[in-house]
């Protein structure tokens, strides 16, 4: 049942029954099949709002364990792309696949989140009336139905996981503080911690260092770098210094399509990218 020729991080993402279901895999929506090394495929995706083409035949792939940065001028379609991936916006045409088999255009936001895609919003969004620890507890993976919520008790393992997340996000000393009282940067971290609590396979981060101090930005860069390999990440960011500190591959979006892709140095040297950023 195990698939010996796959690298280890792929094998952990491949459900144990993946080999048996062969031709029926497209009917099974719970397992993630990344046997071709890609976790996310966008193929020819178009989205229009009242005649405005927010995404114009966008095609993009993210590899397993990759940390991809997406940059682009305002209105390039970065947030719309995240909306399409997370089920918030339905594309007019094109394919959006999570792994080989899961068609994301056919699922709703909460289902997509449970399948393993976490999303951080541009504006930090946490449950302000709850303590930091409660925020993390609510985000933990598990049964998220109404009945389960009535009888819910945190297990010892989950308490340990929360403690671990508090360490990772440097919020251990604030675990009992109301999330609404945290600083802006701490809220950003808490939100990242909540994403991690979901055990996502793919993390989408919309401007994770907006409003952070330099020191906080640096720590965030460390955190994100430590996540790659175990998770796949897509980071949308304007802060070029930050992008430079974390990026392996950078995708430049403009007018709803991919303009350039490569290392940061490569895309920065690209004539078309310079043109888009500096205007004509």
């Amino acid at each position: 049942m195990s698939i010996p020729h796959l690298p280890p991080e792929i094998e952990t993402l491949t459900p144990s029954w993946a080999g048996e279901t062969s031709g029926l895999a497209h009917l099974v929506s719970t397992g993630l099949d990344t046997s071709h090394g890609q976790i996310l495929y966008l193929q020819d995706v178009c989205v229009s709002f009242d005649g405005f083409r927010a995404l114009n035949h966008l095609s993009l792939e993210i590899g397993v364990g990759e940390l991809r940065c997406v940059i682009g001028p305002n209105g390039a379609g970065k947030t719309t792309m995240m909306d399409v991936i997370t089920g918030k916006t339905r594309p007019d045409s094109g394919d959006v696949f999570f792994g080989e088999t899961i068609d994301l255009t056919r699922h709703r936001e909460a289902q997509i989140a449970r399948m393993g895609i976490g999303r951080k919003f541009q504006k930090p969004t946490v449950f302000e009336a709850m303590s930091v620890a409660d925020n993390l507890a609510l985000a933990l993976s598990g049964d998220k139905g109404v009945w389960a919520s009535l009888r819910y008790r945190l297990s010892g393992v989950q308490h340990d996981r929360i403690d671990e997340l508090l360490q990772i996000t440097r919020l251990a000393e604030f675990s009992h503080r109301l999330a609404g009282l945290l600083s802006h940067g701490q809220k950003q971290w808490l939100e990242i911690g909540m994403l991690l609590a979901q055990d996502p396979k793919l993390l989408l981060l919309d401007e994770p260092v907006a409003g952070m101090t330099d020191a906080e930005t640096e720590k965030t860069a460390e955190l994100l770098c430590s996540l790659k390999g175990r998770h796949s990440l897509m980071v949308v960011e304007h802060d070029m210094a930050f992008v430079g500190s974390i990026a392996e591959r950078v995708t430049v979006l403009a007018e709803g399509a991919v303009l350039a892709e490569g290392s940061l140095a490569q895309v920065q040297a690209d004539e078309r990218v310079i043109e888009v950023y500096l205007g004509r």
């Binding site: 997370t86 709703r108 936001e109 909460a110 989140a113 449970r114 976490g118 999303r119 919003f121 969004t125 946490v126 449950f127 302000e128 009336a129 709850m130 409660d134 609510l138 985000a139 993976s141 998220k144 139905g145 109404v146 919520s149 009535l150 819910y152 109301l178 609404g180 939100e191 909540m194 979901q198």
Partner: protein, 367 residues
């Protein structure tokens, strides 16, 4: 921010003191009806039928306020149509009470008087089973519950939120009121149901019956408060406040907000129906006026004045506003609405977190 208040309040008072207070309140709740039944009417300790009915009515209103607090205070869904669910519960029990009149009505018919007046010869189909108390008790929760389920499903699935949701609930209760005003609807038109004679075989105006209805109302209030406390402190309750504060975040955490909203919305409607079912036999009348939008808005005022998302606050608000109302409408009947409006403006400006906010003021400074 509001959620653990009640518990913290209890913790502050100390468990012993809390227990003493609960016991005292329950003793008072028992002493009033006992005095109504056993104390001689000329005694200073006698509780009149008027007083007992007034208090029983307010206890039912307090349950309604509690129901609204669950959806508004905790989940952020401001319903301006909760009076509808309350009235539907009242109408359900009213059908039973109308059947209980038997042949003692003006027309000496087995049918309720208004049906004879309309020249109807048989009961409409939806009156089936209305002579059975067990059946109408089922209707008391099932009718508001089902209506809330259908309405809520459509509204929440379409992601109708905020003020739009409030306006639609308002329109819903208004439409229902117009429907119930029609004689052909089969619920007594603008007169509604009244002139009840007996409930479960007992004379409805007997002191003992009043006493039992009062005690049942108090038990409903105590039970729903205990249940709500448990609910809002469970993970389910956390998720409700998450719906209120950051629904998008919740959705991207993998929870389906529609289900949670629907669950609390239906539960709240059923609780309102139960409150209405105890209200009607005590006040002796139900008519479409109970469904008027103004009534539902008043419920929101009780909750806002007492303090949203505190459970105890809305109960307090229901008592304060209705207590003031019963005094005001006797002393200065023409000024009551001005006073109510003033109360609402004052509460909004001076007590944004309601009366319970006063209790909490000290805590905030320390934390």
């Amino acid at each position: 921010m509001h959620q653990p208040l009640t518990l913290r309040l209890m913790a502050q008072l100390g468990p012993a003191l809390t227990r003493v207070m609960v016991v005292l309140l329950l003793m008072l709740a028992l002493a009033l009806p006992l005095s109504h039944v056993y104390v001689a009417p000329d005694s200073a300790w006698y509780v009149s039928a008027y007083t007992l009915t007034l208090l029983g009515k307010i206890v039912c209103f307090a349950v309604l306020a509690l129901a609204l607090d669950l959806v508004w205070g905790y989940t952020g869904l401001l319903s301006l149509g909760h009076g509808l669910f309350f009235a539907l519960g009242g109408y359900a029990i009213g059908m039973y009470l109308m059947r209980g009149i038997g042949r003692e009505g003006n027309y000496q018919s087995a049918l309720p008087d208004f049906m004879v007046f309309l020249d109807w010869h048989t009961l409409p189909w939806f009156w089936w089973g209305s002579d059975s108390l067990a059946w109408v008790l089922l209707l008391v929760v099932a009718v508001p519950g089902l209506l809330a389920l259908v309405f809520g499903f459509l509204a929440f699935r379409s992601r109708i939120k905020g003020v739009y949701f409030s306006i639609i609930t308002q329109a819903l209760t208004y439409a229902a009121m117009l429907l119930f005003f029609r004689n052909e609807t089969g619920f007594g038109g603008n007169n509604g149901f009244t002139d009840f004679k007996r409930i479960a075989g007992y004379a409805i105006a007997a002191p003992e019956t009043r006493a039992v209805l009062f005690v049942l109302s108090v038990l409903l209030l105590a039970g729903s408060l205990a249940g709500s406390l448990w609910l809002v402190n469970s993970r389910f309750g956390r998720i409700l406040t998450a719906v209120r504060d950051a629904e998008n975040r919740l959705m991207f955490c993998g929870y389906d907000p529609v289900r949670f909203k629907l669950a609390i919305w239906v539960l709240s409607a059923m609780l309102a129906g139960l409150a209405g079912a105890l209200y009607v036999p005590q006040v002796g009348i139900i008519n479409p006026g109970e469904m008027s939008p103004a009534n539902s808005i008043e419920v929101a005022i009780w909750v806002a004045l007492g303090g949203r998302g505190t459970l105890l606050g809305p109960i307090l608000g229901a008592f304060v506003v209705n207590g003031a109302k019963s005094w005001f409408t006797v002393a200065f009947p023409e000024y009551w609405l001005f006073f109510l409006g003033f109360l609402f403006i004052a509460a909004t400006l001076l007590l944004p977190r309601g009366l319970m906010g006063l209790v909490r003021r000290g805590e905030d400074k320390t934390s």
